[in-house]
């Protein structure tokens, strides 16, 4: 009772100091919320999040299935992947991908080990801030998703696999029809968290000028010096995105807990 009163008082006081603070420039904040450049950055943020999550989940499922396979080569390859990309900072990976042209000036499709190339492009043309950001976020996300998916698959009772095998189902059918749908129940909640986290993690690509929400906000405040106002604008949008994502997460969790 007392604690609640104190908490309420603190909140009211915080709100009051923020609202009446003349340094916050509410008019600027409201003015920029729907600014074309901000909305453009918002769009890039959403696109980066959606693309890197979709491809990251696909990568993660592949790596997880490899890690649970009988082949030591596949297990080793998947293990190496998660070890490396979970073991180095995302920020470093992003800068690395952006500068990949320093190591591989030409990127193309051809016969490996020095064979002829069919198609090739200069790395500096291929690697824009957006593609570098997408590469970095996707590959990093895949490594984390691999662990989540693996835990999900392992949570499924081995008896389920045996029951499916005794019906004569093939390995792939068992994975797709029996194991993965049940693993989803364990996979969805942390994946939702990864998605929400990704919405905010995209702001890291501002170091390679990724043109997403934080980058465009920075560009504007470097111009007009309204640093705090534009950070409030960016934060408002981030909050809105994460709130919508949270609602979506709830919905998905309910959908996949059918039968439980």
């Amino acid at each position: 009772m007392v604690a609640a009163a104190v908490a309420a008082l603190v909140m009211v006081w915080l709100a009051y100091t923020i609202i009446v603070n003349p340094n916050l420039h509410w008019d600027v904040i409201v003015g920029f919320l729907l600014d074309g450049r901000i909305l453009g950055g918002l769009w890039i943020t959403i696109a980066l999040t959606a693309l890197s999550m979709v491809i990251g989940v696909a990568l993660g499922v592949t790596a997880a299935v490899m890690q649970l396979s009988d082949s030591p080569v596949l297990r080793g390859a998947a293990g190496l992947y998660t070890w490396f990309f979970r073991g180095t900072p995302l920020l470093v990976q992003l800068i690395f991908w952006f500068n990949i042209g320093l190591v591989f000036p030409e990127i193309g499709i051809g016969i490996p080990f020095g064979g002829p190339m069919f198609l090739q492009w200069p790395a500096n043309e291929l690697i824009t801030p957006f593609t570098a950001a997408l590469l970095g976020l996707t590959i990093n996300e895949g490594a984390y998703m691999a662990e989540i998916v693996r835990a999900g698959i392992r949570s499924v009772d081995p008896g389920q696999r045996e029951a499916a095998e005794s019906l004569g189902m093939r390995h792939r059918q068992i994975l797709r029809r029996i194991v993965l749908p049940q693993a989803m129940r364990v996979i969805i909640p942390p994946t939702g968290n990864q998605f929400i986290s990704m919405l905010k993690t995209t702001s890291m690509v501002s170091v390679i000028s990724g043109a997403e929400l934080l980058t465009v906000s920075q560009r504007i405040y470097l111009d007009n010096f309204e640093v705090i106002a534009l950070l409030v604008v960016a934060s408002t949008w981030y909050l809105l995105l994460t709130s919508v994502a949270t609602v979506g997460q709830r919905f998905l969790e309910r959908r996949f807990s059918r039968g439980h």
């Binding site: 045996e162 029951a163 095998e165 005794s166 019906l167 004569g168 189902m169 093939r170 059918r258």
Partner: protein, 254 residues
């Protein structure tokens, strides 16, 4: 060989250093109902799992309806079957587990439809019609839309039996089908099994239900320590066991 539906010949199976089956041979005639009893850890469940190749045997042979299970024989040498060939063989062998293992994300109806739909590619309408008929046969037509978590243990096991029957198997394997059930739910499952036996299905039943073995079984096998100790007509073995180990075991369970 043509006269047996299931023929098991000198099967051996070891897990690490423990030899679970030490040369087991068994013949099941078409329509025969063989009950396998024995203390836990005797190898009876493993024997069942060797028939549909959930376990790989170390030596010996298993045939179902004249077809060698898990291997092909060329010029006197055995070769492991490819996975898709093995899947083809498993379709012919139904299995019911102690803990049901229904697919929890599917309704009873969907569970029964899953095999025909996914494995045989039967059309939705056709498999639905067939699944409903099977659920009706096990007395659960009114539970078609229920998820396994909404069914009692006995009902789940009956759905599991219907799920296996949907593949139209030549043999049904039962691995302690009533051991995980509350006592009052055992009879409803045994009744379905009795009906199935009466309909002419070939069955191998690992069980502790001596009453079922006596009435519905036409052959009883007592396994201990990886070998068949005693076998014969159920009434004879149960009322007149010849071996000390059989007597000791029956003394404990009867």
């Amino acid at each position: 060989m043509a006269t047996s539906m299931v023929k098991i010949e000198s099967v051996r199976k070891r897990f690490g250093r423990l030899e679970v089956l030490r040369g087991v041979s068994l013949d099941v005639a078409p329509g025969g109902v063989v009950c396998v009893v024995g203390p836990s850890g005797s190898g009876k469940s493993t024997l069942l799992r060797c028939v549909n190749r959930l376990e790989t045997i170390d030596s010996g042979r298993v045939w179902v309806d004249g077809e060698l299970i898990g291997f092909s024989e060329k010029a006197g040498k055995l070769h492991h079957l490819r996975p898709e060939e093995l899947c083809g063989q498993r379709q012919e062998i139904g299995m019911v587990f102690q803990r049901f293992h229904l697919f929890p994300h599917m309704t009873a109806l969907e569970n029964v439809m899953e095999g025909p739909r996914t494995v045989k590619g039967v059309a939705r309408q056709e498999s639905r019609r067939q699944a409903l008929a099977l659920l009706d046969r096990v007395g659960l037509a009114d539970r078609a839309g229920h998820y396994p978590s909404q069914l009692s243990g006995g009902q789940q096991q009956r759905v599991a039996i219907a799920r296996s029957l949907a593949m139209n198997p030549k043999v049904m394997l039962f691995d302690e089908p009533t051991s995980a059930l509350d006592p009052e739910l055992v009879q409803e499952v045994l009744q379905v099994m009795r009906d199935l036996a009466a309909s002419g299905m070939t069955m191998i039943v690992v069980t502790h239900e001596m009453g079922f073995a006596r009435e519905a079984g036409d052959h009883l096998v007592f396994i201990d320590d990886g070998v068949i100790v005693e076998e014969g007509p159920p009434r004879e073995v149960l009322s007149n066991p010849r071996h000390d180990r059989t007597r000791a075991f029956l003394g404990q369970v009867l």
